[in-house]
């Protein structure tokens, strides 16, 4: 009796120690990053102003704002979405609604994993070889957005597929029983209930696309251009590349300027991410069945 209780007490102590150990590991992972982000905010916020957001870089990019880069990123993301949405969602519909449990489905899933796992610089090489040179789009928003869309496609596919698979099979069967075709069932029963989940994935897609640097370096984004993009065949500046440029390529940049660019970029990306998380939480509270 006595022995058991000391053993229990020891176990309890080990338990508590282990718990604290794991908590420490968690904090070691998270806290330094939060401190780093805090530094970015402190140093960067002094740079950011309305002027900074809405003017072009001046004096060999050592002064002025980030407007062309901001606008370019908006362009890149917009064209990316136009490409990624139809391809990604139809791939998701295929996997969720048509694909059988066979070798083709396994190959598709493997391809998706690889698309996500191939280094971004390899995507850049592909974009250069395929879109810039072979298809003759030149270094342009179109070529860069195509490269980005293909690289981030797995995100759209996986998020859309999961939200479609969350629609119970009984709903599809009820619709088929009434004589609906597969497509009618998808359009009237599956998609309307999957759209919120798909949107969550698309917001993440925006966040991811906005932050990618390597894929656009040789396909459409340039270090500096005095012109704002007018169409999809123009080159453009972009936020992530602009950060790389002011941080490494331009001599004589004031110390705080890159912090401002980094802060804006991270604010943009994290805002979209937080939006997606909040949207997801809101959806969870809003059960439809």
């Amino acid at each position: 009796m006595f022995e058991t209780s000391t053993l229990n007490a020891r176990n309890q102590q080990v338990q508590r120690l282990v718990r604290i150990l794991f908590l420490m590991m968690t904090l070691f992972l998270i806290v330094p990053v939060l401190i780093i982000l805090g530094t970015l905010v402190v140093k960067g916020s002094s740079v950011i102003s309305i002027d900074f957001l809405f003017t072009s870089p001046t004096e060999g990019m050592t002064a002025g704002g980030i407007f062309p880069a901001l606008l370019g990123t908006v362009f890149l993301v917009a064209v990316d979405l136009v490409i990624a949405i139809p391809i990604g969602i139809s791939a998701a519909i295929y996997l969720s609604e048509y694909a059988g449990n066979n070798w083709l489905t396994r190959v598709i899933n493997l391809a998706i994993i690889n698309l996500a796992g191939v280094p971004s610089i390899v995507h850049a090489l592909f974009g250069l070889g395929a879109f810039v040179l072979f298809f003759g789009f030149g270094t342009s928003i179109l070529a860069a957005s195509l490269t980005l869309a293909i690289m981030t496609l797995p995100l759209v596919i996986v998020a859309s597929k999961e939200s479609m698979q969350a629609v119970p099979q009984a709903f599809r069967e009820a619709s088929w029983n009434m004589g609906a075709t597969r497509w009618q069932t998808i359009r009237r029963v599956v998609l309307p209930n999957a759209i919120p989940g798909i949107l969550t994935g698309l917001i993440l897609e925006i966040s991811r696309t906005a932050g990618e640097t390597a894929p656009i370096m040789f396909t459409g984004a340039v270090f500096f251009t005095p012109f704002l993009p007018q169409g999809i065949f123009d080159q453009t500046m972009a936020m992530p590349l602009h950060l790389f440029v002011v941080a490494t390529q331009v001599p004589g940049v004031p110390e705080d300027l890159p912090y401002g660019v980094a802060l804006m970029l991270i604010a943009l990306v994290l805002f979209m991410n937080a939006l997606s998380i909040a949207f997801r939480a809101w959806l969870r509270g809003k059960k439809k069945w």
């Binding site: 391809i87 690889n114 592909f126």
Partner: protein, 310 residues
């Protein structure tokens, strides 16, 4: 009789007629199928196009021994360019290994804490934080390495240069850890609760349950998480480019500057002429990267799928 609206399209037995909806269904099915196999097309396309651009080098100049055993990468020499990637492999490997030394214990530890210890609000908050950390763009990490870690390393270790293996390793570790944490947490959560309940019913403490039951059951999923982290670190471009110092070197210590394979492509491609030997050599590097990550991802997938089956 009684079939007012719906039988206007046909009566009696002639309802069996293909209509617009029937054809629409077939057309959409074909389009969706194309979308479905798009990922295969793109992966194949990546391989075809980078091979197409790199093929000239592979056929005319490529020398297996030189490529993999020479540490000299002088592609821009007029007279006698040399294409050895050994130093870059060493650079990538050293940074990846250090990154994993940072990321594996901390991400697995965090995953265990979130999945097995944390509850309620704490758990939700930690999960959201991890997700947000995973979203920080790689160029921002590179900037952090360059402007925050660099002076810090110089100060703390009293070394002349802070852009080195240590810097890039820590940056990459912090960068890969959140993703590894998410995947590892999924793997832990996939272990059915009845395993835990059974062990706890026998009087085991939480930690014993984790050690003896949960970790072995989630082993493959955790290994998959680690492999994906390795793939991520191996292929990372911008952060490594900015934090390693980007000088060709087989590192003797963590304070040496190195250069990584993906970063080399990013740094040099802009200076080459399309179709030149140097340009083709960089695409050959790309083929090498593609194949290595393909193998890593394939094994990660096979390992994780193996768990899913059980």
């Amino acid at each position: 009789m009684g079939n007012g609206v719906l039988t206007e399209t046909g009566s009696g037995g002639d309802f069996d007629r293909r209509n617009t909806d029937w054809y629409m269904d077939k057309v959409v099915q074909a389009l969706i199928f194309i979308g479905g196999i798009s990922a295969i097309i793109f992966v194949a396309g990546i391989f075809v196009f980078i091979t197409k651009e790199g093929l000239g080098f592979i056929l005319d100049r490529f020398d297996f021994m030189e490529f993999f055993t020479s540490e000299y990468w002088y592609p821009a020499e007029e007279e006698d360019p040399e294409y050895g990637i050994l130093a870059m492999i060493a650079g990538t490997a050293s940074v990846t290994v250090l990154a994993m030394l940072v990321a594996i214990p901390f991400s697995l530890g965090t995953a265990i804490y979130i999945a097995e210890f944390a509850t309620g609000k704490t758990r939700e908050t930690l999960k959201i934080l991890v997700e947000l950390l995973a979203a920080i763009p790689s160029v921002v990490w590179g900037f952090i390495g360059l402007s925050i870690m660099n002076p810090l390393i110089i100060d703390v270790f009293d070394v002349p240069v802070g852009l080195n293996v240590l810097n890039a390793g820590i940056i990459l570790g912090l960068m890969a850890a959140p993703i590894m944490t998410s995947i590892a947490e999924d793997a832990l959560k996939a272990v059915p609760d009845r395993y835990r309940e059974a062990a706890e019913a026998m009087g085991a403490t939480r930690w014993q349950v984790i050690q003896k039951t949960v970790l072995p059951a989630a082993r493959n999923g955790l290994l998959g998480a680690v492999l994906l982290g390795v793939g991520r670190a191996f292929g990372e471009t911008m952060a490594v480019l900015m934090a390693t110092g980007h000088s060709i070197n087989i590192p003797g210590s963590v304070f040496d500057s190195v250069r990584a394979l993906p970063a080399t492509i990013a740094a040099e491609l802009g200076e080459t002429a399309v179709g030149s030997e140097h340009y083709q050599a960089l695409f050959t590097l790309g083929i090498f990267l593609f194949m290595v990550t393909f193998v890593i991802n394939l094994s990660a997938d096979l390992i994780v799928r193996d768990t899913a089956k059980k």
